[in-house]
């Protein structure tokens, strides 16, 4: 199902041509309208005319999250506030929020890519779209909302929180598409089970559009099974536009980056060098059509692999293979690089453990110790301590086989780890806090 078949299935050669044209335009636009980029160009001895096509992308300077923060709030805007119709801000897990602004055209382009994204999951105007992303400064809620309305879905702007009411609404209004973070989807499923709501009988969900945090394949299978739907990954970040930068299609083989608007590349995060197809590195995005706050070569911090071969769905836009985690989420445990999502991948394949876990990193003497705290399920309980110790052992050895790092495992009671209603917090790094034990 396409929203904009022409744009979504553009022949690769034409796509590159279009990207080149738009890259030239945006380069000139930021040079003319942004003191920040003008200065950067001068420092590099770069002229807008040096950029002739996508092959020159690597000549452009990077933009980092810190640039947005240093120029807080409006410093990177390329147009006056009289042309800005909306502002969003990302919470910023560290420090000040990042503020982004949209012109009317930006809202239009965002709505366009969201409409493409929603239809890529096989959802249409006949669907009832339940948006449980937060509405407000966070881009999740309004992004899905505008896209859903454009497609013609019946949009339920449920926003976050009040799970009892969310469940009631989904039952009574017959929601068929659920949009939220994957961790909230897991929470909803657990909540439904406790309230004796059977998704197979009482809910009509068939599609889940889940994003705003990395999630693994085993997590996908669990959510699909628990809510009886097909789960699709949506990718985005407010600096670029919000959700709808990339979206998985019905083939479920990586999210198509809408590259006529957002030009992707993968780089080595250490050296900044561009990497080839199939190589894993940091995703870097250039907005080709934005007016409010266009960004050149924005370092997303997300690690991925890009694949350019044609997808069975017919779309020609490159696919990003599931985000493995953020470069700044990477833990180094006794010299081994560990991504929390890799641990999730191993953990959730073990049926006796619940879907909630927290990773705690502590310093014990000179050593970093990684503890995986995971909830037991009703089915994993036995009257014998031995059985549970065996389960702990199994988790430990599965992780150590897959990741090459030893971890400790602590089983905890069901529903005792904190549930997130928005983005999940799965990591407690206590290495700089004197190693005190934290729940």
């Amino acid at each position: 199902m396409y929203w904009n078949k022409k744009a979504e299935t553009l022949k690769p050669r034409e796509l590159i041509k279009l990207q080149g044209k738009r890259l030239r335009q945006v380069t000139k636009y930021v040079y003319r309208n942004s003191g920040f980029y003008k200065k950067k160009f001068r420092e590099l001895g770069l002229k807008p005319d040096d950029i002739r096509g996508v092959e020159d992308l690597g000549k452009l300077p990077f933009t980092r999250k810190s640039d947005l923060r240093d120029n807080y709030p409006y410093g990177l805007f390329c147009t006056g506030l009289e042309n800005i119709v909306r502002v969003h801000a990302s919470s910023g897990t560290t420090g000040k929020p990042t503020v982004v602004g949209y012109t009317g055209n930006d809202i239009g382009l965002w709505t366009e890519v969201m409409a493409r994204s929603i239809m890529a999951t096989g959802s249409t105007r006949k669907d009832v779209l339940h948006v449980a992303y937060g509405y407000g400064l966070f881009t999740g809620g309004l992004g899905l909302h505008y896209g859903g309305e454009r497609v013609g879905c019946t949009v339920i702007p449920a926003s976050g929180g009040n799970t009892a009411r969310q469940l009631l609404l989904m039952q009574d209004l017959g929601s068929t598409v659920l949009a939220c973070t994957p961790s909230y989807a897991v929470y909803l499923a657990e909540y439904a089970e406790r309230e004796d709501v059977d998704p197979r009988e009482d809910l009509r969900l068939r599609v889940g559009i889940f994003g705003a945090e990395p999630w693994s394949e085993p997590m996908r299978r669990r959510v699909e099974d628990a809510l009886d739907l097909k789960a699709y990954d949506i990718y985005g970040l407010s600096e670029i536009v919000g959700p709808g930068v990339a979206q998985e299609c019905e083939e479920q083989c990586g999210a198509h980056i809408w590259s006529d608007h957002f030009l992707p590349e993968v780089i080595d995060p250490e050296t900044g060098e561009q990497l080839g197809e199939g190589e894993e590195g940091e995703l870097v995005l250039t907005t080709l059509t934005k007016e409010g706050i266009p960004l050149l070569r924005y370092r997303t911090g997300d690690r991925t692999i890009l694949e350019y071969d044609k997808c069975a769905c017919g779309r020609t836009h490159p696919r990003m293979i599931k985000v493995r985690g953020r470069t700044d989420d990477m833990l180094i445990i006794r010299g081994v690089n560990v991504f929390p999502s890799q641990i999730e991948h191993v953990l959730l394949k073990i049926p006796e453990v619940g879907s909630h876990y927290i990773l705690v990193v502590e310093k014990r003497g000179p050593l970093d110790v990684l503890t995986v705290r995971v909830e037991v399920t009703q089915d994993s309980i036995s009257d014998r301590v031995r059985d549970l110790m065996k389960l702990e052992e199994r988790i430990k050895s599965s992780i150590s086989h897959a990741l090459g790092v030893n971890v400790s495992v602590e089983l905890v009671e069901p529903f005792t780890l904190e549930r997130s209603r928005g983005k999940a917090v799965r990591l407690a790094d206590l290495r700089n806090e004197g190693g005190k034990k934290k729940k």
């Binding site: 406790r194 037991v376 399920t377 009703q378 994993s380 309980i381 036995s382 009257d383 014998r384 301590v385 549970l388 110790m389 602590e410 089983l411 905890v412 009671e413 069901p414 529903f415 005792t416």
Partner: protein, 142 residues
């Protein structure tokens, strides 16, 4: 055969309070209990008057709990009572994994709860002795 609840408890203050309060509020009477613990967690094993109800209530309150059957036998509440059972099982080559016991108010007897590696065999060897097996009804009606 008597019913035993096994409850997963983290090794933290307040965990036992939570579980016992749920049972108290549901009017469940605890007949016997024992805790097996490791560094991080414990298994609380409970014999109660109404195991079905207790199991349901605990589950509804999101407590991780399992309901199993264990052997219950009656012994004389006097020195050597437990030894007699242990001896019969040992002779029958049945291994005891854990055992606990409780005395009752109205009885001259004590009840012993046994988890063994081979329950069928245990029932057989105890059955052919003078030891009397106890059912859940008797425990419920103490």
């Amino acid at each position: 055969m008597i019913k035993q609840l096994s409850v997963f408890l983290e090794n933290e203050p307040g965990r036992l309070v939570k579980v016992t309060r749920i049972l108290e509020d549901a009017g469940i009477d605890i007949r016997a209990l024992t805790v097996a613990e490791t560094a991080d967690f414990g298994i609380l094993r409970l014999i109660v008057n109404d195991p079905g109800k207790a199991h349901r209530i605990l589950k509804e309150n999101s407590v991780a709990v399992a309901l199993d059957s264990v052997l219950g036998v009656e012994v004389e509440d006097k020195p050597g009572g437990l030894r007699a059972i242990a001896e019969i099982l040992a002779e029958g080559e049945v291994n005891i994994e854990y055992v606990y016991a409780f005395v009752t108010r109205s009885h001259e007897k004590a009840f012993v709860v046994l988890r063994v590696d081979d329950r069928e065999r245990a029932v057989k060897v105890l059955g052919s002795s003078s030891i009397r097996l106890v059912g859940q009804d008797e425990v419920s009606n103490i």
